[in-house]
Amino acid sequence: MALFFNVTLQLLEGLLYTLLIFGVTLLVALPLGLLIAFGSKSKIKIISAITRAFVWVIRGTPLMLQIIFFLFLPTSFSNIMQSIGIPVDLALRGEVALLTMVCVAFSINYACYFSEIYRGGIQSVPQGQYEAAQVLGMTKSQTFSKVIFLQVVKRIVAPMSNEIITLVKDTALASVVIRLDLFTVAKGIVNTKAILWPIFYAGLFYLLINGLLTILLGKLEKKLGYFKV
């Protein structure tokens, strides 16, 4: 019983870090994704080309690789700077710094996936909606915020839900840097205590979180059900 209690406590702590990575990533990636979507749709060729290339690289390489890249970026940068005689030391030290970099990697990765969903959503709004707003004398930003945006949200709730649920599970990838997330903690217990059940116990935690998210996102979908697009 004491073991069960102990494991539960450890897993709860892991859950906290998992939720932290999840929350920060969502908070940053949702707006950043929209920005990237605008970038890839930009009429200025150079901006859209750079944005698209960036999205291609991020979506085309493993997230784990990106986490490692962002982890060593500050150190490598510092080394290069020092080698040419500029004393810069940005090397990551301590949990907070590492966790921050993990969140940066996650946010950028997910923002790119989100941006493609936004782009699809924006493109699926009929041209007639833009034209109707235009002939009513609305500005471009008014048109987007008052007419287009909500229609986009309604169209993308389902594919977004998919990504968001995947994100909860992807947090386990943080283990390459920092062994604090739910899955890694469970795996650690399995290794040290030579028992298997904590890993399935951790699975229940994931299920619970994703169940909760499914309900919340379903509610949002229902809430937007009052109109049809």
């Binding site: 009929p126 007639g128 909606q129 034209e131 109707a132 707003a133 235009q134 002939v135 009513l136 004398g137 609305m138 500005t139 471009k140 008014q142 008052k146 007419v147 909500l150 229609q151 309604k154 009052y226 109109f227 049809k228 697009v229």
Partner: protein, 262 residues
């Protein structure tokens, strides 16, 4: 000088010249119908008038004031286009109501947006907002839909949606109200209610331009009819002249086809 003058409007898409020099004028309070087969350029002309397309050549003026001149306005600022565009209202073939707003909010959205752009005191905003709302009710009454004010577009029939769209276009008090085949997307039994509303606007002396396939409507409601073919105005005249006594063989052929009964 007529109230609205259009001269030498030309527009090409790629190598296809869709409008090959359109000239016409319109008196205040009159109704102009534009008829013609698909591909004749009538919708493009209407879109040019509403600044949804930019003509390559030509000028337009309202009340003696030039609102568009292709030789100068190539780089017209967005704010300028927005201001000039408000001389016109446009009712689309496919209604294009905003699905997330009620009928009432569809009508008030744009006027309320314009309010936020002006520098007004809180008190003035309050007064103007009330005016906008009162006008929306008035317009809903005009199109016979006061009981549907709180309905969303998806809860309305096509005919009702189009009537809301007409009210929405009127909310900004345009000088000229344009209709782009307003009944083409409707079931036959719903066209009547929309045409009746448009007809009723005539008595309230709005200036209107109607692109239509409804020959009876063009005949009975318009003061002037334009027949377009291959990007030019083939024939223009009063409904009596054009329908009873068409001069061009193209007009005759088109009318025969359109009025053919099965």
């Amino acid at each position: 000088m007529a109230f609205f003058e259009v001269s030498n409007i030309k527009k090409s898409f790629g190598k296809t010249e869709v409008l090959k020099g359109i000239d016409f004028s319109l008196e205040k309070g009159s109704v102009l119908s534009i008829i013609g087969s698909s591909g004749s350029g009538k919708t493009t002309l209407l879109r040019c008038l509403n600044f949804l397309e930019t003509p390559d050549v030509g000028t337009m003026s309202i009340d003696g004031k030039v609102i568009f001149d292709a030789s100068k306005d190539k780089a017209m600022k967005e704010a300028e286009i927005r201001a000039n565009r408000l001389h016109f209202g446009l009712v689309f073939q496919s209604f294009n109501l905003f699905p997330q707003y009620t009928a009432f909010d569809n009508i008030t959205l744009a006027p309320l947006m314009r309010l936020t752009e002006q520098k007004l005191t809180k008190e003035e905003i309050k007064v103007k907002t009330e005016e906008i709302k009162a006008k929306a009710w008035e317009l809903l009454e005009k199109v016979g839909l006061t009981d549907k004010a709180d309905f969303y577009p998806c809860q309305l029939s096509g005919g009702q949606q189009q009537r809301v769209a007409i009210a929405r276009a009127l909310a900004l008090s345009p000088d000229i109200l344009c209709f782009d085949e307003p009944t083409s997307a409707l079931d036959p039994e719903l066209t009547g209610e929309v045409l009746r509303v448009i007809k009723s606007l005539k008595s309230s002396d709005s200036t209107m331009i109607v692109v239509t396939h409804e020959m009876e409507f063009a005949k009975n409601v318009s003061d002037e009819v334009i027949f377009m073919a291959n990007g030019v105005i083939e024939e223009q005249g009063t409904p009596e002249e054009l329908f009873e006594n068409p001069k061009s063989p193209l007009t005759r052929a088109f009318l025969n086809k359109s009025l053919e009964s099965f």
